[in-house]
């Protein structure tokens, strides 16, 4: 079984820990990190908007990509060390993050492990970040979505609105012809 674990800044430690607990023993593991290619552009666009500044264009270039590549390899190497298994493949890509992740698992990958990101104080339909959402929607393989930290308790479900009448239950009767579930 080929498994790819997507490591992202901020959540990769938790993602790895959760992945290790769920990995089949015979799996072939690859760690993936993608450096976003649009960060430099955000910075450079601001410089381009400064009309007339000749000096601004002669300031030595941004060193972000160098630093980001270094950070990426540190994350990948540290991640491999934590896995403590043989033959871990390290994949580093650069580009539009969500698209690079999907294309990295496009062929021959059985499982992609990713960490939930997003704002965990506002759980709901938009609780995943846009990149994670894109990967969940488009990855052509099974996706294991793990909590990079302690999962929240069931009490994270908001209470029903006032005046809401729950359906009769609990539904323990089962369907006709099925064995009755044991009573607690």
């Amino acid at each position: 079984m080929k498994v790819v674990i997507w490591l992202v800044e901020g959540t990769w430690q938790g993602c790895l820990a959760a992945a290790v607990r769920n990995l089949p023993p015979d799996s072939h593991v690859a760690l993936l990190h993608v450096t976003p290619s649009d960060i430099t552009e955000v910075a450079e666009a601001a410089t381009a908007g400064l009309l007339g500044r000749v000096f601004a264009r002669h300031v030595p270039g941004h060193h972000y990509e160098e630093a980001a590549d270094q950070a990426a390899s540190q994350i990948l190497v540290a991640g491999a060390a934590r896995l403590r298994r043989e033959g871990v493949e390290l994949l580093h890509r650069r580009g539009r993050v969500e698209r690079e992740v999907v294309s990295a698992v496009a062929q021959g990958v059985d499982l992609l492990v990713i960490a939930r990101d997003g704002d965990r104080s506002r759980l709901g339909p938009r609780s995943l970040g846009p990149a994670t959402r894109f990967v969940v929607d488009h990855a052509p393989c099974s996706v294991l979505l793990v909590w990079p930290e302690e999962p929240p308790g069931i009490e994270s479900i908001p209470p029903p609105p006032e005046g809401h009448r729950p359906p009769p239950g609990p539904h323990r009767e089962g369907l006709p012809g099925m064995p009755q579930p044991p009573l607690p």
Partner: protein, 416 residues
């Protein structure tokens, strides 16, 4: 020449100047077209020599002030101020992305306010990005914070933005009064940006980065003291009725002398920081816009811009200014709007500044058709993050614009 011909000529020259600033044929600096355009307008009699002289005379102190600030910011960089700021942010954040964002907000707001938006864009942003990478955090919120705050946080002082410097004289305000009136709008703009950023980038502000133990660079005590004294100097010179540009000049010279003596920089480096082509471009653009506004356009602008300092008129002024800044870039926009609004008083001028300074966040790169769609989009063969930029702009700019204008309206009542 008949009036319509003169009018058309003036507008054509402005279009050519701005067009070449966007296209920059053969990579030529903007001034290469702007300066001949201004000269031709004078030679053709569209802009009478006396008027050109008067305009140049009124722009000269502003350009001097600008030159001093450019050199001051560059020398601060050479003294390690920005590198130290990066180390302070890394130490203070201790791997927490929201704390780092707060520190980036603070640094970008202060650098923009005191050393101008150029310093934030050119000198602070690269330091922020490498700091984020070193902390192994996601860079996106912090990169956008720098670009957004370079605009939104440039409301506070006349030195914060070239648009402010140009409006400063027209407003008739003292340095201190300018700062006191704009303090509330400045804080309001930063506050709104913070609230939007926390929500917009919630997905990227998660988890925990590295707490890297970097050996901090030596604290740039001298540069910090000089910047602080320069800042005090701005207010003191205003009280003494001396041009605050002299405070900036004093600061730049004080930093330059030891740098040159210790050969940490050559005269040539200071000359590059001075950016003479840029200063000449500002002068030439000022003259071209003067020719345009002399011939008809100013009366159009007067009709567009309401007088009075009611909340409603301030809002209209700010929205018109933001709109114009997004169509033709904020530098020509402020030059066009100033003569018409200066007559309406300081409140209107400051509302123009709120519009032209915070407005450019709406479109990618502050427009001119978003710098001709970032000069043929595909030149680099990469997709640009334009849709994300626009989405963030659509959320922040209307909110920042209204909140800051409301704050200005309040401020005008409190400070007078």
């Amino acid at each position: 020449m008949s009036a319509p011909i003169v009018e058309t000529l003036a507008v054509m020259f402005l279009v050519a100047t701005l067009g070449c600033a966007v296209l920059r044929p053969w990579g030529l600096p903007e001034v290469v077209v702007a300066l001949p355009a201004a000269a031709l307008l004078v030679l053709l009699g569209v802009l009478p020599l006396s008027q050109a002289g008067a305009e140049a005379g009124s722009l000269a102190p502003t350009i001097g002030f600008l030159a001093a600030i450019l050199v001051l910011a560059d020398l601060c960089d050479r003294h390690g101020l920005f590198e130290a700021a990066g180390a302070w942010m890394a130490t203070g954040a201790r791997g927490r992305p929201v704390v780092l964002l707060a520190l980036v907000f603070a640094a970008a707001s202060l650098v923009t306010a005191v050393l101008s938006l150029d310093a934030t864009v050119v000198l602070l942003t690269p330091v922020v990005l490498t700091t984020v990478a070193r902390l192994q955090l996601r860079a996106k919120p912090h990169a956008y914070a720098c670009t957004h705050l370079a605009n939104s946080a440039s409301l506070l002082l006349p030195v914060s933005n070239l648009t402010n410097l140009l409006a400063f004289r027209a407003s008739g305000l003292s340095f201190g009064r300018f700062g006191a009136t704009m303090a509330l709008p400045w804080l309001a703009a930063i506050g709104v940006e913070w609230l939007v950023f926390r929500r917009f980038f919630a997905a990227d502000l998660v988890g925990h980065g590295e707490t890297v133990a970097v050996t901090p660079p030596p604290a740039p005590v001298f540069a910090c003291v000089v910047v602080a004294l320069t800042l005090i100097g701005f207010f003191v010179t205003a009280v003494l009725h001396v041009d605050p540009a002299f405070a900036a000049l004093g600061g730049a010279v004080t930093l330059a002398v030891p740098t040159l003596v210790r050969r940490r920089a050559k005269i040539r480096d200071v000359a590059i920081a001075l950016d003479v082509p840029f200063l000449a471009f500002v002068l030439a653009l000022g003259l071209v816009v003067k020719a345009v506004s002399m011939h008809g356009l100013s009366s159009l602008v007067v009709r567009l811009v309401p007088s009075g300092e009611s909340l409603g008129s301030l809002l209209i002024v700010a929205v018109v200014a933001a709109g114009l800044a997004n169509v033709i870039n904020n530098l020509p926009a402020v030059l066009l709007l100033l003569p018409a609004t200066a007559a309406h008083g300081a409140g209107a001028v400051l509302a123009v500044l709120i519009g032209v300074n915070t407005g450019p966040n709406l479109t990618y790169v502050g427009s001119l058709a978003t710098l001709l769609w970032r000069r043929v989009l595909h030149q680099r063969g990469e997709e640009l993050p334009i849709s994300e930029f626009l989405r963030l702009g659509v959320v922040t700019v209307p909110l920042v614009l209204t909140t800051a204008t409301l704050a200005l309206w309040l401020s005008l009542r409190l400070v007078g």
